[in-house]
Amino acid sequence: MSKYLLNKFLFTVDRDPELVERYRHEPAELVGWWEANVANALLNSHTGEASTWQAFTDGERAALVGHDHVALFELGAHPFLTLTLFIALFERDNTEPLEYQKAYGAALAHLTLPYPDIAT
């Protein structure tokens, strides 16, 4: 399990408007592209210095492809990163204020303290 890599995905996609749109409309394509091209990229370096060892587990990849914020929470992805990205993806579909945000919380209602560990 790589909570760091999950967080790196959420972090890098959330801060790039083009990637946000690709993730909304074609999540399987975007997750595959990201794992092949960004997962091992050092964020402050050129490609020649990339890491060599980072990859998602099958469960992590499926949670990202499925836009499954509940699974991401259970896997220990940072909840702030997940929330802000998913608001970017889906708040636009709201028909009333905070509709998506409240549904997002309700989908997690089966979880009680202590929540999954978010330490990387």
Binding site: F11, N44, L81, L83, E91, Q101, H110, Y115
Partner: protein
């Protein structure tokens, strides 16, 4: 020596800008009361007539990241660009540019290291809403130079709560030792109970109003002993999964001093959080 003319602590609700500037049907029902409270809070800084703002906030995984995560970081740059694309997108926050006060940054870094804090520094720091929100609420002219200080309240392992208090106490001492005639205000923002990305988010009130009531009491009364008796890294999970930002309030209690009651206290219960505003005047208040 420099003088600290005000110590100010508040929440940093990123929707204030959007709520206070909205008109017509877009204006939420709580906007007028919120604006009134902010204008009164702003006056507590204006009356202190500061020259420089030392601003404590938490980065929200914008410039600080898990590949190289500092615990406490001081900005040392002549200028700071502010707010990020995802904050424009989500909160409607404007892009801003703020002047830096590099002499004070240099002094805080040198004296902080000598006082036992291994502070990180940044020569190019794009600041985010934990520092721009108090600019918008307290100094919308954005005309004073700043020293930004960022804390890690987000990425475990976190410093212990007492460390935040100690850093606040050190910042107070270091600023007062700065060989300058300038008037300094120290402004920091934190959280009361807060849940983000969890089952208790976006409720009708903050996730733990009982914690909020106790926390406001600790801050208003400068009750550091009572606060440190109850607050631990583990206990802060209970009021809400983002409540570790309360440690930035504890840092500001350290700046204000143990046992020192705030000269100004106000709160506002919003739909998913309690806003809280505190001002101390270390020298007894503006004339």
């Amino acid at each position: 020596m420099a003088s600290i003319v005000a110590v100010i602590a508040s929440t940093h609700h990123p929707f204030y800008y959007r709520a206070s500037t909205a008109t017509g049907a877009d204006r939420p029902p709580f906007a007028d009361e919120w604006t009134r409270k902010i204008l009164a809070f702003r006056e507590t800084l204006t009356r202190a007539n500061p020259d420089v703002l030392v601003m404590v906030g938490s980065d929200h995984f914008h410039q600080l990241w898990l590949d190289n995560m500092p615990q406490f970081l001081v900005g040392k740059a002549p200028m700071y660009d502010a707010n990020w694309y995802n904050e424009e997108r989500e909160f409607g926050l404007p892009r801003m540019t703020l002047k830096g006060q590099e002499d004070l940054s240099t002094h805080i870094l040198r004296a902080g290291l000598d006082d036992g804090f291994d502070l990180a520094f940044s020569n190019e720091l794009r600041i985010d809403h934990s520092i721009t929100c108090p600019i918008i609420t307290l100094r919308p002219e954005a005309d004073l130079p700043i020293v930004p200080i960022y804390t890690n309240i987000f990425a475990p392992p976190l410093p212990q709560p007492k460390r935040f208090v100690q850093l606040g106490e050190s910042i107070r001492k270091i600023i007062e030792q700065w060989p300058s005639h300038l008037r300094v205000a120290v402004i920091g923002t934190g959280h009361l109970s807060l849940e983000l990305g969890g089952p208790r988010q976006f409720g009708p009130h903050g996730p733990d109003p009982a914690f909020d009531e106790r926390a406001v009491g600790w801050i208003a009364n400068g009750d550091l002993d009572g606060c440190l008796r109850e607050v631990t890294l583990d206990s802060l999970h209970s009021p809400g999964n983002a409540t570790h930002g309360f440690m930035d309030f504890m840092l500001m209690m350290g700046v204000a001093g143990a046992g020192v009651k705030a000269d100004y206290v106000d709160t506002l219960d919003l739909f998913h959080t309690m806003e809280a505003y505190f001002t101390w005047y270390p020298d007894g208040g503006p004339a």
